[in-house]
């Protein structure tokens, strides 16, 4: 019988393997429970019921953006404000995956693994979340955007607080549409937060990157003069300009957005340095805004010929930029080359929140350009506003900006404006993009004007 005992070792080993497997599962459960719980089909959280005891969401002024009353989730009173905040706050569903109510649902409802999702309503302690967003600025931006598709981003480049983030298309979270096969075209992309998750051809706003590269790598760039006769032939193909600029200086080339001059400048900088400078400015990578990664932007000239390189320097070719990233670049210029990364969720006082929730911000990102380059670039952007756009476009504030009209395959070009306010009182960096909006400046200027107007009111109220 001793032998029988010895030979039972096989069963014993299998049993040990089983217990090891069980331990593996438990470890996975402990490590991943939040991710496992946050599935759109989860019957315990999906629908309004899942938010039945969720905490409130406040904006920076203490305005309640979302709250629960008698087991029902309610949103801000004003229709336009609700629509403007859809992609920031989210709705009852988990469809907008980057919104606070999706991403932080477990924290809002007070989920922790020990108690699971089964706590009776009366004992649930939902956590409140404070955002850096200003509902009034957001509303103003939404109103100015109207039905145009695109995004508006405004943030404080000193503190990193994200003040305004609007994404169109949108809908009313208090009355979400039922999206069926018939109307899915109308709502195409509505669940995407364009400010953070989309990427667009940048067009002329990319000239800021090229300018920075030129300032860094071409010693006599400021002494050079370029000649624009409306187009230039490179490797048998034309690079076109929107106008005939004749002889033009470096500074004028940026302010008048001369494609011919910038094609020349890009070729002078060369593919290697263009690539390096673009990547330092966040191309081909992304940023984390609170817990949400921005879409990965794109700049790749490693395989490009000279014609393509020239086009890339004026924001065409395969270039893609994300609105949030463009605002961060402008923030970096304003800050002397190093950006403060924007954030959305305010620091929370509750110790429980801090366990799972990354809140607060104001962290410095990697340096994007040398300080002198930032300074030169800033003054060139200022010159552009002074000579071409006028401060009136920016609610009378001393803006440094660059507009862009990005040709896209079909339809009207994308309209852009990016920049910052060079002011201690109003340290704002911004980016506006309107899909198929047409001419950059004329399309975007009413939007950025109205948005900054609201921002002045809000910051003035803060200061008092």
């Amino acid at each position: 019988m001793k032998r029988t005992w010895t030979r039972s070792i096989l069963v014993y080993i299998v049993a040990l393997a089983f217990f090891a497997g069980l331990a593996t599962f438990c470890a996975r459960l402990v490590l991943n429970n939040e991710a496992w719980v946050q599935q759109p089909y989860n019957g315990h959280t999906a629908g309004s019921g899942g938010l039945a005891m969720a905490g409130k969401i406040y904006d920076r002024n203490g305005t309640v953006l979302a709250y629960t009353e008698d087991g029902e989730r309610k949103y801000h009173d004003d229709y336009l404000t609700r629509c403007s905040l859809l992609h920031v706050v989210g709705d009852n569903s988990l469809n907008i995956s980057t919104a606070i109510q999706s991403l932080y649902r477990t924290q809002l409802t007070g989920f922790n693994y020990i108690w699971g999702l089964g706590m009776p309503e009366s004992l649930k302690q939902g956590n409140d979340i404070n955002l850096t967003i200003d509902a009034d600025i957001n509303r103003a931006a939404q109103e100015a955007m109207g039905d145009q598709e695109g995004a508006v981003v405004v943030y404080n480049y000193k503190t990193g607080e994200l003040l305004c983030s609007v994404s169109n298309k949108t809908y009313d979270p208090a009355d979400p549409p039922e999206i069926t096969e018939e109307n899915e075209e109308e709502y195409d992309g509505v669940y995407l937060d364009h400010a953070i998750s989309s990427e667009y051809t940048p067009g002329s706003v990319f000239k800021l990157v090229t300018t920075a590269a030129a300032l860094e790598y071409i010693d006599d760039i400021k002494e050079q003069t370029f000649h624009c006769s409306g187009s230039v032939e490179i490797l048998g193909n034309d690079v076109n300009c929107h106008s005939v600029h004749g002889d033009i200086s470096f500074e004028e080339a940026l302010s008048q957005s001369c494609n011919v001059a910038f094609a020349e400048i890009t070729l002078q900088v060369g593919a290697e340095h263009m690539q390096e400078v673009a990547e330092k400015m966040g191309f081909n990578s992304n940023f984390l805004i609170s817990d949400v990664p921005t879409a990965v932007s794109h700049y790749d000239v490693t395989e490009a010929d000279d014609n393509q390189l020239a086009w890339s320097g004026i924001g065409q070719y395969t270039d893609l930029a994300n609105p949030m990233q463009m605002a961060i670049i402008c923030g970096a210029i304003a800050n002397g080359g190093q950006p403060v990364i924007p954030y959305l969720v305010e620091e929370s006082s509750s110790i429980f929140d801090q366990l799972g929730l990354s809140s607060g911000g104001g962290e410095l990102g990697d340096r994007m350009m040398p300080e002198e380059v930032a300074k030169e670039l800033g003054s060139m952007m200022r010159y552009t506003v002074e000579t071409h756009y006028g401060d009136s476009t920016f609610a009378g504030l001393p803006a440094c900006a660059k507009s862009g009209t990005a040709e896209v395959g079909e339809g009207e070009p994308n309209a852009w404006i990016v920049g910052y306010i060079d002011s201690e009182e109003y340290p704002l960096a911004f980016a506006v993009v309107v899909e198929h909006g047409g001419w950059g400046l004329s399309t975007t200027s009413p939007i950025i004007d109205a948005t900054l107007e609201a921002a002045i009111l809000s910051l003035d109220a803060d200061a008092q």
């Binding site: 299998v14 069980l22 999702l117 089964g118």
Partner: protein, 557 residues
């Protein structure tokens, strides 16, 4: 409003209580198995009449031979490696020669077959002669195995108290179900009433009519069975009653099997009949099988559907086990290999690969426990790997499951639909669960059998789910610990392999549902809904019960 908070607070308090309570129950069951044991003392002493050397006889079946791994090792060239077997039965001690060269003699007379030996008889093996003395004549201490090192002769808990503990546990589950979120009524209490009646009847029959002193193994099985039934109340109430009826049938089978294998020598006669019966049963299944969920492993008789493979499991263990003298005389595994191949092959044709794998692994357990031959095992595993590769090639739906293995979230709406739900709802349950009847997994197909681990974890919390797994897995450790205390290797082999089978089946169930392994389609022993499975689990438990030497001894008192 305040009343609401008090109510809710007590609901939560109950939820926290249940895991702790479950832990106590399982602990008490296992603790009780260890207690109430005889002290480790020799049953007989064998004394070498020439040298005076004394050998203690501590087991019910003892091999005598030159081999170092013999229970009684005699270092004498004239003794064969496995010379003979000295065994104890109800009516005394016997010796059997197991094809030794020199033969075995009792009082100078050559033995043929099993020969009874009495105190002071002289047994000759080779040139060694051993006199049979009483156990008390061996004066040295025998070190007991760790399991029995602290064993007391008194039971650790009165068996009726154990039953009360379990009954109250089920009652608390029923109360929790009464106040579930969606439906509030007292129907769960009715189910509980029937369940309790069933459990106590079983207890009464076992202790009063059959006069068995120990009930802890049955109590453990009843605890798990009841837990599964109480979870069913808010899912498909009618099924809770069906499950109870099959549990009752399982308990009857349990008692019948213990009686049937009471004499390990007599059952040998039935071995061939049972083997043929099992193959015939599977053949009927193959011919008349009904395809359900991709496997044709069901047959219908009237309005009942049964799963023959579940019953064949019992036959499989039964056929595989043997007493020590049988093991030593016929070392040939061929017959058993053929029988196993037929069973596994039939299951493969039916498309029931989960059960086929269980049979295969059980075959490995039995083959190794009988022969101790690693080469056979490696050969068999290699063959199985090839067979598995063929299966993947010809049964694409199984390969599909492999594709989504480890990528649950990418396939959450398709191939890994069930696994994704199990993970989500397991995590939603937390440590203490969302409460009986409040789960969402119950709306997912197969949640009451294939995915039941997730259901337990969601409604009662991961602690209870893990305790259930430990309770079933612990049977292996228990079976192994009592191996040398069994009345025959027939019991110890069958107990270890039955426990191993239950454990492996549970592993497939739990790991399949939680994406640790890419397999689904088998039940969680005792807890899953499934009549045939429930009956076979109780049948397998009978082997473990029979391996306990107290099972047959105590009842005479």
């Amino acid at each position: 409003m305040d009343l609401q908070i008090v109510m809710d607070a007590s609901v939560v308090a109950l939820r926290i209580l249940l895991p702790i309570y479950a832990m106590v129950i399982v602990y008490q069951c296992y603790k009780s198995m260890r207690h109430h044991r005889r002290a480790e003392k020799p049953l007989l002493t064998l004394e070498d009449v020439f040298t005076g050397q004394k050998y203690p006889v501590v087991f019910w079946e003892n091999s005598i031979g030159r081999s170092k791994r013999s229970d009684i090792c005699i270092q004498n060239e004239t003794v064969s490696r496995d010379h003979s077997v000295l065994l104890r039965r109800e009516d005394g001690w016997f010796i059997t020669d197991t094809k030794s060269k020199a033969g075995t003699y009792v009082n100078g007379k050559k033995t043929r077959g099993r020969v009874k030996v009495m105190i002071d008889d002289e047994i000759s093996v080779g040139s060694t002669t051993l006199a049979v003395r009483r156990g008390s004549e061996y004066s040295e201490e025998i070190k007991p195995s760790w399991y029995f090192s602290k064993a007391k002769t008194k039971p650790s808990i009165k068996q009726y108290k154990l039953m009360i503990l379990i009954t109250v546990f089920h009652l608390l589950m029923a109360l929790a179900a009464c106040f579930s979120n969606e439906i509030q009524d007292f129907r769960p209490l009715v189910v509980w009433g029937f369940l309790t009646a069933l459990g106590w009847t079983f207890f009464f029959v076992s202790t009063v009519i059959l006069k068995r002193v120990n009930f802890e193994l049955e109590a453990l099985g009843f605890f798990l069975t009841g837990l599964g039934i109480m979870l069913l109340v808010r899912q498909v109430e009618r099924q809770a009653y069906t499950q109870m009826i099959t549990a009752a049938m399982g308990m009857v089978l349990f008692m019948f099997l213990i009686k049937f294998i009471e004499n390990p020598d007599r059952v040998k006669k039935y071995r061939t009949i049972i083997m043929i019966g099992a193959v015939a049963f599977l053949a009927i299944n193959l011919v008349f099988g009904k395809i359900q969920h991709g496997a044709a492993n069901w047959i219908s008789i009237g309005s009942f559907t049964i799963q023959p493979s579940e019953f064949v499991k019992i036959a499989f263990i039964f056929v595989g086990a043997a007493t020590l003298d049988q093991l030593q005389t016929s070392k040939n595994l061929l017959e058993y290999i053929i029988f196993s191949a037929v069973c596994v092959g039939a299951l493969a044709i039916m498309g029931d690969f989960g059960t086929g794998l269980i049979f295969f692994v059980t075959f490995l357990f039995i083959a190794f426990m009988r022969s101790g031959d690693f080469k056979t095992i490696i050969l068999a595993v290699t063959a199985a790997v090839f067979a598995g590769a063929m299966v993947l090639k010809f049964k694409p739906y199984i390969a599909d499951r492999f594709v989504s293995w480890g990528h649950v979230w990418e396939y959450a709406q398709t191939n890994a639909y069930q696994q994704a739900r199990v993970l989500t709802y397991t995590a939603s349950g937390g440590l203490f669960g969302v409460g009986v009847g409040n789960g969402c997994l119950k709306y997912v197909f197969a949640s009451e059998n294939d995915l039941v681990f997730g259901l337990v974890a969601e409604e009662m919390g991961i602690i209870v789910a893990v305790i259930c797994a430990i309770a079933i897995g612990g049977l292996v450790l228990y079976s192994r610990a009592i191996t040398t205390r069994s009345r025959s290797t027939f019991y110890s082999i069958s107990a270890c392999c039955a426990a191993g089978l239950l454990l492996f089946q549970m592993a497939l169930n739990i790991f399949g549902a939680t994406d640790i392994l890419p397999l689904t389609g088998v039940t969680l022993p005792f807890i899953s809904l499934g009549g045939s499975s429930m009956i076979s689990c109780w049948g397998l438990l009978a082997f473990i019960k029979a391996a306990d030497e107290r099972t047959y001894a105590m009842r005479r008192k």
